[in-house]
């Protein structure tokens, strides 16, 4: 996402990278320090969620978790909701005394699978296989339609005979 730092100078903002914006772009401005703090807070909660996953099943072992883990995860998500909602609340004053920097390795963010989930995935993702249309296939397709129509006609004739 395009963003630029800037400094407030005589009620206007001097942009450090003005080339990223067009003239008359609508922009939103946040104080840098508080925004970084907010960003770090949410990253902290997200890392917490990954840690719940890690505790319930390491990367190699099959996943196992109970309702408590799920409730815990939901509580952490509620905290994220609060943080996201508080972003536009001017009265919300952040505690700037500490700052979280995420150092969680990417390998812990991988999805832990078990047999059940892979089966679910197979059901969920529809694999589209596009066959190459050859003259033979075209003819077969045509003949299928012709067969279906001729079957209908034959059935109708049979009905007439029965009547």
């Amino acid at each position: 996402m395009r963003y630029s730092y800037g400094i407030l100078d005589q009620k206007q903002i001097l942009l450090y990278q003005p080339q990223l914006f067009l003239r008359n772009n609508d922009v939103l401005t946040f104080p840098t320090r508080e925004f970084h703090k907010w960003h770090g807070d949410i990253k902290e909660y997200l890392d917490g969620l990954y840690q719940i996953q890690l505790r319930s099943g390491t990367v190699k072992k099959p996943l196992s978790l109970d309702i408590n883990d799920f409730n815990l995860a939901n509580a952490v998500l509620n905290n994220i909701t609060d943080e996201v909602k508080d972003l536009f609340d001017e009265n919300n004053i952040l505690n700037l005394s500490h700052h979280y920097v995420s150092t969680l390795d990417d390998k812990y963010k991988k999805m832990v699978g078990n047999n059940y989930t892979t089966d679910m995935k197979r059901c969920d993702t529809k694999i589209l296989l596009k066959p190459r249309i050859t003259p033979w296939m075209k003819e077969k397709h045509m003949m299928e339609i012709v067969d279906a129509v001729s079957m209908e006609i034959r059935a109708k004739e049979r009905n007439k005979k029965l009547q």
């Binding site: 996402m1 963003y3 206007q12 903002i13 939901n74």
Partner: protein, 125 residues
């Protein structure tokens, strides 16, 4: 958090209410529609997880195994969104939606990569 809207004019940006910031305070400036996109995406993901939690019956804990990956999928999207906020790369979805591709199709390259995969591997069974 203190937030102000504004309009860019070349090198400077004019704010609607500059008095909430201190003089010489460093600020970070986002494009409004891009920020809007990220923000709404995050709210949507959170809403989805909350709904899963809401409709989960406490007695049917065996369903958790299926729901957990769904929840983590959403968490992963939130994580990616947070990363995208402070990274000066264009948003891929944004580009897909708004830029017409001037480059011709890559049908040749696609065919080459497809050739490496045997037909058996592509079958769902």
């Amino acid at each position: 958090m203190r937030v102000s809207e504004g309009v860019t004019r070349g090198k400077i940006a004019e704010l609607n209410n500059p008095e909430i910031f201190r003089e010489r305070e460093e600020v970070v400036v986002f494009k409004r529609d891009e920020f809007n996109r990220i923000y709404r995406s995050m709210m949507e993901q959170i809403h989805h997880v909350n709904q899963i939690h809401l409709y989960l019956d406490e007695s049917e804990t065996w369903k958790l195994m299926g729901y957990w990956p769904k929840v983590m999928e959403r968490v992963y999207i939130i994580d990616k969104n947070m990363d995208a906020l402070l990274r000066n790369e264009p948003l891929q979805c944004y580009l897909d939606a708004f830029l017409e591709s001037s480059v011709g199709s890559f049908s040749g390259e696609v065919a080459a990569s497809k050739g490496k995969v045997s037909a058996k591997d592509m079958l769902p069974i």
